[in-house]
Subunit: 351 residues, 2 copies
Amino acid sequence: MHYSPDFIDAQSRQRRAAQARRDGLLQPGRYAEGTAGALMISEYSSLDSGLSATQAIDMLRREAADAETIYQSYVLDEQRNLLGTVSLRELILAAPDQAIDQLMVHKVICVCTSTLQEEVARLIRKHDLLAVPVLDEAGRLVGIVTCDEALDVVVEEATEDFHKGALIANHIGNLRDATVGLLYRKRVLWLVLLVFGNLFSGAGIAAFEDTIAAHIALVFFLPLLVDSGGNAGAQSATLMVRGLATGDVVMRDWLRMLGKECGVALALGGTMAIAVASLGMLRGGTDIALIVASSMLVIVLIGSLIGMSLPFMLSRIKLDPATASGPLVTSIADAVGVLIYFGIASQVLEI
Amino acid sequence: MHYSPDFIDAQSRQRRAAQARRDGLLQPGRYAEGTAGALMISEYSSLDSGLSATQAIDMLRREAADAETIYQSYVLDEQRNLLGTVSLRELILAAPDQAIDQLMVHKVICVCTSTLQEEVARLIRKHDLLAVPVLDEAGRLVGIVTCDEALDVVVEEATEDFHKGALIANHIGNLRDATVGLLYRKRVLWLVLLVFGNLFSGAGIAAFEDTIAAHIALVFFLPLLVDSGGNAGAQSATLMVRGLATGDVVMRDWLRMLGKECGVALALGGTMAIAVASLGMLRGGTDIALIVASSMLVIVLIGSLIGMSLPFMLSRIKLDPATASGPLVTSIADAVGVLIYFGIASQVLEI
């Protein structure tokens, strides 16, 4: 069996990481999970300033067995402060006696140990980096995060956001191997919370008991109207959650996005109102058609604005916006939808 | 302003890609979007077999200006068939006169032009590759996909899956710059389809009009019960969709997952049935408590099994399973929930 060199790299990387842990280099637990400190590896290749290109390549040759990558090297002073970075490509292309002080880039894109791992991955992705150096509070180089770790981070973060959107608690691990007990524990909390949350919808319906009893045809349109608000809300929330996660939108875009969402939601609500008006006409006559069409417009508008705002609000109170994209926004939009529908219905039918 | 060498690499890469397009090397449109062929770049570094390590490094030095990466090189014969791959790290570590035929790895992890881009990214991630070579039907090397492109693919694919889950059509682009018209067009289709889909829920409710009119307290529990089925279904669908996307589960795991889901759903449904039974007791007495508790158990079980199965079914009929994770599974579970609830209610109350 033959393996590609990168596959062997991956194996020896794990071995070296285990060694580094034994040596106390990585000090697991020192840095919070999900930060650059917890993610970084300490097997970077470093060079002394003052070397020539040829001397640097010789030094890398000696370091190669222990370094995760020799393709990007970091030039350090005696206190391990980061002076610059140089790629092996540049060293190979340089004149043999050229000083690396002249070759290296002085203004290096770098992160701190406390930088969040999704931010690290975003930087690597944005600038197409092979690796990004991690500095401690004093500005000393303590490790690097490589592109292949960024790839793992991006996949893990997306999985986490998907699960959060469906209100599943963190860290299921590999789904195939997850036990029934684990899956139960990760899913039960929010499901039960939403049962109690849905009491508001129930109470809303109960408050309009007389109207419903008198016009039982209204119940026919209940799931359709209420779900439409939830669905439109889920769409806007998902767009926002993903936009915030990829960095396409930031907190200060909220007002602008909200304005645009008003336009989109009015157009969507209008289209759906027309669709539902004809059904209302068939089923209950002009009054019902008027009620369901105007309810649809208002419900879709309000549902979308809730969906657009909820991720920002969660983010503002330091909760993960990803929680907003699924059943949470749907349940809130549902409860509001019930009130809007029966509110409009009782107004129109009591005239 | 100083840039890191990798940043400059990214810029010159774009320039070279534009040049390659002009030269007809990349031939856009020849390969379907979303495949390795459409994603690959043709600026790989290749080596002739029969070179020594030193000669190979010299050859790379000459190629460096035109190649995306010189850190992984591909050894080709005259017909551009891929013979093996060798990393610059190995060339640097080798004895100067060692033949690359001996240094190179012969069994190379590679993909075809038609391989889906998510599969390419998965391979790069799994084996921690810097780049993966792309071969045409005849086995000739036509390009490479690098780790930083895999990073973009993974982010794009996750965004697409998020949007699909919320039933938003593909390719919104940057959310901040999306126009009202574009967002409307991407969102309206499924929202309107679901309005008509929800007619089934409405018809279900209408079929039980007499039961509802006689026991209006039943309506109080409607959103709570119906939403619970949808929420549990959204959770299982999301777990499956993401599991399929990351490769944690595959199609043949379906039966095993379904069995496990039965256990999880019964536990979840049982817990929620207890929660809702007390509410039913308070609001409508023993009959209502019995109805809502047993409905909850059945609805959560059925909703979860639908959620677990829908992604597999969509996958089986060549549709994207990601579509299943949000409003689609919720709407189906809702309609089924209505029938289960009022079905049980009319049975119990007519005794």
